[in-house]
Symmetry: C2
Subunit: 382 residues, 2 copies
């Protein structure tokens, strides 16, 4: 069993952010798995999505149930084989899982950042990740890998540091959010911001947490992560309590839990509100909204991707309606317009957007093949 | 111009509800357009969806902009021609637009119902509608017509009063909600119920309105009413303010309105929270959740629809992901299993669920043809 050890790297030099603001005196949490080879050519950076962290693989010492969020994909003998690769998981700036974020203290004021934490973008995260690699003495990555928002980071790497990576693996992602994606983010943000316990983002000082808003945000999120089909298969119209007084099993109540899907969503919402930071939620959804590499090129993604040098694997899932296969195909097309080396797998999986985190034989096999080919390239180069 | 006049019918006899509760001393608001013919055979009942009322067509005297919600469909010379039909718009029990609802006073306690208003179902509404027809002296309807939740009422009519109607026109509807539909309803309800201004549904006594929750509920609703495509076409990633300091036009803010879609949703939410009753929202979404005529038949819709006698027109819209064409096809199949007379039109319209309220030449033409055929039947019979 792979034992993970979280580490922290501190950065004192100011990091210029895309917004114009600067952040200094910050830390990044990370974990590494496997061994960096002699020529430092086998490093794989894993970027996380909304609700994840640097704890990508393995478990913590003495904590059996503490598997990393992509432990099914990454580890000894797994699709991304840590016997071959040196895998780095990193927690992004603004997160609530270790790296400097809104819950931490502003070094200049001595006060908790809260809503004053600077707005961070995918590009800012990538810049911070590159600084961590500098500190680890890694010049070139074998691959950058990410799903969903993590896939956006992998794509942004190919634009910001084309010379520092050989492969980009972009799973269940998109070249930007569409109007519906932004709309769902906005409703979630409004739920948080209008919760009276939010206090303009300075709720820490009031000793409260905007749990109502966080619950709603998470419930909305969960709906968009699952496919219609898998929701019907898992929950359908099933009622929570099987034995009931009324003939047809309904309680005839507007506020009680009656359907299984309600129970599931409330549970997910409650759990999330216990551990996720409200300001982090705002920051991360905004980073999603803003990401749009084609914007500077009048919306022309092919032009935007002209500066990429990496080889690409893109993976999408047929039932993902959050980031549909169509969105991945846009990236594939833009890369092909630039005659880039692109592999693309559209996996017929029932689980919607969540599929990127789940075990699916075809998906795992595509990933394994691609990473094996990277690894073979390493051996030849060695 | 058709001038509409709202009317009210009071009912003193108790109405037994599906939940086991009773309601008495209630009123129903309604409007009628056109003239009931001598043999009372040309009446068309129009059932409303979530955010609508008895004001289906025409305008109110001296109020130019007060068109009924289906005024594009119903009126003199329109698809449902009030020169031929006597059209009845009715407001359902529990609504906040005229008929007795949570904002009214309980006749026994003298207090505002609030959360104590009994839970009402589609079947209860249909029973109340039948009582209104009794009072109007109409035994048999030429047609019952409804879209979305209104379509569920039209379908339920064919089961509850098969002998009192000749045609059912069921637009953009479904034989029940699926898990995703219930999930969206539940998130909206949680937003309302957890708003501190909700006060367990007795907010009227506190002089407040749970506007935060209502806004969120409406924003979620709007996302599900529109198609992905039409949202991208109407809003895309367009920013609200064109001239901005930062090079790429972003404000880098987590709480300000930046994208047009955000502005649209906030506006819709704000507007809705001004006029819609929170308890009504809970009641109507619950009626949607509960409706499931196949439930008593172990989920077998064909068996459930065996007792229908009406002729049917079903209409669905290709981009409606709330009540997709697939859901209408389930009804069509179940009716065909019973050898019922069914017409079905799947309209290739871009507007998502909202399409049923909008002008679309093919849609309007299908409706006109069908109602013309009903009207010809009337003339032959006369």
């Amino acid at each position: 069993m792979l034992i993970a050890t979280p580490q922290t790297m501190r950065f004192d030099a100011p990091l210029q952010l895309q917004s114009g603001a600067c952040i200094h005196g910050y830390s990044l949490s990370y974990e590494t798995y496997g061994t960096l080879n002699a020529d430092k050519s086998n490093a794989v950076l894993v970027c996380h999505a909304l609700n994840a962290s640097h704890h990508v693989a393995g478990v913590y010492e003495g904590q059996d149930k503490s598997e990393g969020w992509w432990d099914n994909m990454i580890g000894p003998g797994k699709s991304v084989d840590t016997n071959k690769f040196f895998v780095i998981g990193i927690n992004n700036l603004g997160s609530c899982f270790g790296s400097t974020g809104p819950m931490h203290t502003h070094p200049d004021t001595g006060k908790v950042y809260g809503a004053d934490f600077p707005v961070v973008t995918v590009e800012d995260w990538v810049n911070a990740q590159a600084l961590l690699l500098d500190a680890l003495g890694i010049q070139t990555l074998a691959a950058v890998l990410g799903g969903s928002l993590g896939g956006m980071q992998a794509l942004s790497w190919t634009l910001q540091y084309p010379e520092r990576m050989r492969h980009a693996v972009v799973v269940a992602s998109a070249p930007n959010l569409n109007a519906e994606n932004i709309a769902f983010n906005e409703v979630a943000r409004r739920a948080i911001v209008t919760d009276p316990d939010f206090h303009g983002g300075h709720f820490y000082e009031h000793g409260v947490i905007p749990k109502r808003g966080l619950r709603i945000a998470r419930m909305i999120g969960h709906i968009t992560y699952l496919s219609d089909d898998v929701m019907n298969a898992k929950f359908g119209r099933e009622l929570k309590d099987k034995v009931l007084a009324s003939a047809n099993g309904y309680k005839y109540s507007t506020q009680e839990v009656e359907f299984q899907i309600e129970s599931y969503l409330r549970y997910q919402g409650d759990k999330f509100a216990e551990y996720f930071d409200a300001n982090t939620y705002l920051l991360i959804t905004r980073a999603l909204d803003y990401f749009d590499p084609a914007k500077a090129y009048g919306g022309d993604l092919s032009q935007a991707l002209a500066r990429t040098r990496a080889k690409f694997l893109l993976v999408s899932f047929t039932t993902d309606w959050r980031f549909s296969p169509q969105r991945s195909r846009e990236v594939v097309k833009a890369l092909l317009d630039n005659k880039r080396d692109v592999s693309y797998a559209e996996i017929d999986a029932p689980h919607g957007h969540d599929a990127f985190l789940l075990d699916d034989a075809r998906y795992m096999s595509v990933m394994r093949s691609y990473f094996d080919s990277i690894s073979t390239g390493l051996e030849v180069a060695a």
